[in-house]
Amino acid sequence: MTAVAELMDYAEVIERFDPVLGLEVHVELSTNTKMFCGCANVFGGEPNTHVCPTCLGLPGALPVMNGKAVESAIRIGLALNCEIAQWCRFARKNYFYPDMPKNFQTSQYDEPIAFDGYLDVPLDDGEVVRVEIERAHMEEDTGKSLHVGGATGRIHGAEHSLLDYNRAGVPLIEIVTKPITGAGERAPEIARAYVTALRDLLRAMDVSDVRMDQGSLRCDANVSLMPKGTSEFGTRTETKNVNSLRSVERAVRYEMARHGAVLAGGGTIRQETRHFQESDGTTAPGRTKETAEDYRYFPEPDLVPVAPSREWVEELRGTLPEPPWERRKRIQEEWGLTGEELRDLVNTGAADLVAATVDAGAEPGDARSWWVQFLTQQANAREVELADLPITPAQVARVIELVKSGELTNKLAREVVQGVLAGEGEPDEVVETRGLKVVSDDTALLTAVDEALAAQPDVAEKIRGGKVQAAGAIVGAVMKATKGQADAKRVRELILERVGA
């Protein structure tokens, strides 16, 4: 199964075929609790410690819908310009696999909560592509398997598997596009841009952590090719395990090249699930796809239908944030950025964070400098994305405010931010517990100045004699005595005052 697949040169693929894409994105909602029970919805944790009879599928346990999750599902549907169902139900998707202890997944089948929408996706060069949305439906996540024996962590050759159900039952929204046709050469780029836009939108809505590295945003890429001049879709493959935005683009491109070689060689594409392999950018076959009928869907008898009133839907529409790309356009104008400067901000993931920091009251210049410089360094050092740093735009805005009001120097401010990143609480708490306030009380400073002058009478004499630059040594001593928490400019003024120079 490790045979290297033949690949067709990409330019030739484009010349001979039209690609058709279909993207399925699973989003884990960041609700406090799971979809159908009150267990905590948190990433990781000791195995099987966020479980209860309902999510373990124990006999007699009954599910109850998480109202907040339904609300998020409707908001996501609205943000994707979808119709919201007047009335819809959950369904049981029956299959035997140990990651689902109930032996069925509670999902939605032919009655999704949201359908027929679109997302206008901005590409890098500014062009906007409309991706049609087929549906967005509610379901629950599965447990996590650990395969033991054989090649490490791989299901093939494993002797047995170990199951952790902490994730089983976490609310999931599956967003499915309609077939994306006519993308041609730009298909891989459009796939990445779509997932990027979706991620940014969901993040702005505050409905999910959208972390691909932790699986709270997952993309399955369906790819098929049809020979130029024909209009019947070819057989598709579905590539899973695509764990980064870059991988979305690579996986689509790889599958296009692989399909091209198979088809050109007179072969046929098998409809199957394939797994993307981050290490070399290839895909490998997974389990054969069961047909839809095999899941024997039927309406979930333990959950009553969802019938969102139009009033509720309109109320939720009112809570939608400004889409990130529109906000970017606005900030570009407001801050007078060139297209390139804006793109840099967007590509480093700083644009939305800077904008949110400005919304929280900071000056654009200050907000930009914090995110682009110090915080970007911190993110790089931790090897995480900027948005995943454990600090919020509101907290950054507060630090900026403390500097503006003179309560913190820039140096102290960086220490406060370090404290926030280390989980020591809000900026004000860090200032308090680490004792980082600027010593602005002249009485305290004067004591330090007097001590420093007394300790270095020769320097004091020089200053008195007109050598003002000698004051630097005293400033240094005072800064040392106050552990850097004094305003150097004020210290200098006080020294000169004291010696009467």
Partner: protein, 99 residues
């Protein structure tokens, strides 16, 4: 009129992980036919204007507040497991029969 074949019964039995003997396949095919016939009768009376009934109670939108409730400890969760290892449920290897 529905007419469920022996092969379809065998397929369903496989999906449901039921061990069904050859004789049982014949018996169940006949019985399932009768059940499907009975259900099909409902289709004769129910028109498009009658919504399908999946619930006997006229309720919608039964929601729970998004508040954490205590669940089971790891020990309690694993108490009924035939086998456990490292705080997890241990299951026989997953792939094998199909692939």
């Amino acid at each position: 009129m529905p007419n469920i074949s022996r092969d379809e019964v065998a397929h369903l039995a496989k999906l449901a992980r039921l061990a069904v003997t050859d004789e049982e396949l014949d018996v169940f095919a006949g019985q399932l036919d009768q059940i499907l016939d009975a259900v099909a009768k409902v289709g004769e009376v129910a028109g498009d204007e009658i919504p399908p009934t999946s619930h006997a109670v006229p309720l919608t939108n039964v929601f729970r507040a998004d508040e954490i409730r205590p669940g089971l400890s790891q020990e309690q969760a694993l108490a009924g497991a035939p086998a456990a290892e490292e705080g997890r449920f241990r299951v026989p290897r997953i792939l094998g029969e199909e692939q």
